[in-house]
Symmetry: C2
Subunit: 242 residues, 2 copies
């Protein structure tokens, strides 16, 4: 007699896996509304409390979004590379605050991804990508150092390059790493640094637009070298993680 030791399956978990399966199998398409909590509770034969716990779990996994009010409900969310990058960024940030990874490690991985990213972008960029890059740089030339949009635009630039490489996984990772790094990098940005950054961005974009892989890669490397040399990592990482 060999019984496999099965861990206790809580009701909440059972409901969750069934809903998860239904969503991932495409039974509910993106944007669809699942039945109301009351209906789900009845059809599963459990209380509304339990259904809510399961839905809450799916919500924090990013599979659904809940909207209150009439016509509201639980809607199947678009699970794309952007949401992937978003949640990954949060996780990395948490781990960083815990002190179980360091800024240097993040910056290093970023380099591993962004240099090939620029190179691939130079090879695969479309007209639309070029337009996007030009638009971002134009906006970046206009704004001042204090503008709260600054970090977002910087993030958009690097993410746009990764997307131009036609690899969505790469794009989400680049976005995630950048979103963590920028929180430290932009704490006290001087006009000099901002100016240098824009110039370096222009050089990177030029390489990509011209389809010059080596130039794009080289410019990206110089950009990252410059940021590393600012040496904000060591001092600033304390402020944030503390």
């Amino acid at each position: 007699m060999s019984f496999k030791p099965v861990p206790v399956r809580r009701a909440r978990e059972q409901v969750e896996v069934q809903l998860r399966e239904a969503i991932l199998s495409g039974e509910f398409a993106e944007g669809d509304r699942l039945p109301s909590e009351l209906e789900l509770a009845e059809s599963f034969g459990v209380s509304r409390t339990t259904v809510r716990e399961a839905l809450g779990s799916l919500a924090s996994a990013g599979l659904i979004t809940k909207i209150p009010g009439a016509g509201g409900g639980s809607f199947v969310r678009v699970v794309d590379h952007e949401s992937l990058g978003l949640s990954l960024g949060q996780s990395i940030e948490d781990t960083l605050k815990f002190g179980n990874i360091s800024f240097e490690e993040i910056a290093h991985v970023r380099r591993l991804l962004e240099v090939p990213s620029a190179r691939a972008a130079a090879r695969k960029r479309t007209e639309a990508d070029i337009e996007t890059l030009r638009g971002i740089i134009d906006r970046q030339k206009e704004i001042t150092v204090e503008d709260p949009e600054g970090p977002k635009i910087d993030s958009a630039f690097h993410t746009a390059i990764a997307e131009a490489s036609q690899n969505r996984v790469l794009a989400s990772l680049v976005f995630a790493l950048h979103s963590v790094i920028r929180q430290v990098l932009f704490l006290n940005m001087s006009p000099q640094v901002a100016g240098a950054t824009v110039r370096q961005h222009i050089a990177i974009a030029r390489g990509i637009i011209n389809g010059d892989e080596e130039e794009a890669a080289r410019a990206m490397e110089e950009h990252l070298d410059y940021l590393d040399k600012l040496q904000v990592w060591r001092e600033k990482s304390k402020d944030v993680s503390a």
Copy 2:
């Protein structure tokens, strides 16, 4: 008078951010037990239901684990690079099932990370790392193709290399990508493929152990080339995502 329209902050969210902050700021150390749900409900001035929702959210974010029974409760979890890789792997898998990223993209990013990973490992590996690699390869030589441990050992090998590179972020990403890929790769593994894999692993390990960066990188590249050429991606990805 300009009041900025602040989005509604639900009670559950407010409790969540306070707890999150308390945990991440180190107010509760790893392994600590937070107050019971009842106590938290009282001190926050909300119902137990709300506290439970907040705790559930933190639990699925991987910040705490909940244990029922006497002496149980909500315990602060070790938020390290392993749990990071675990949850990232799940997210990638979901996104893949949704069809919003492809296997080719994952495999490509994997290459971007694993080749430098092998190179860095050759430079920075410690004696302990070498022992670990040897142990893994020994086990891999013993097992048969049907052994359910196979995929895990393969995963352990690649992760061990990334950890030998002394970059925990890199290790978590490698682990995540590998855990997604292996689900497809190991569906129908022949003895020939298994044998070739072990030989390639040995070559990689040799480069790392000898401290030969170029050899390690080259062997890793050959290994990944070989896997790509198996061409399991195209056909198999359908089976899994369906």
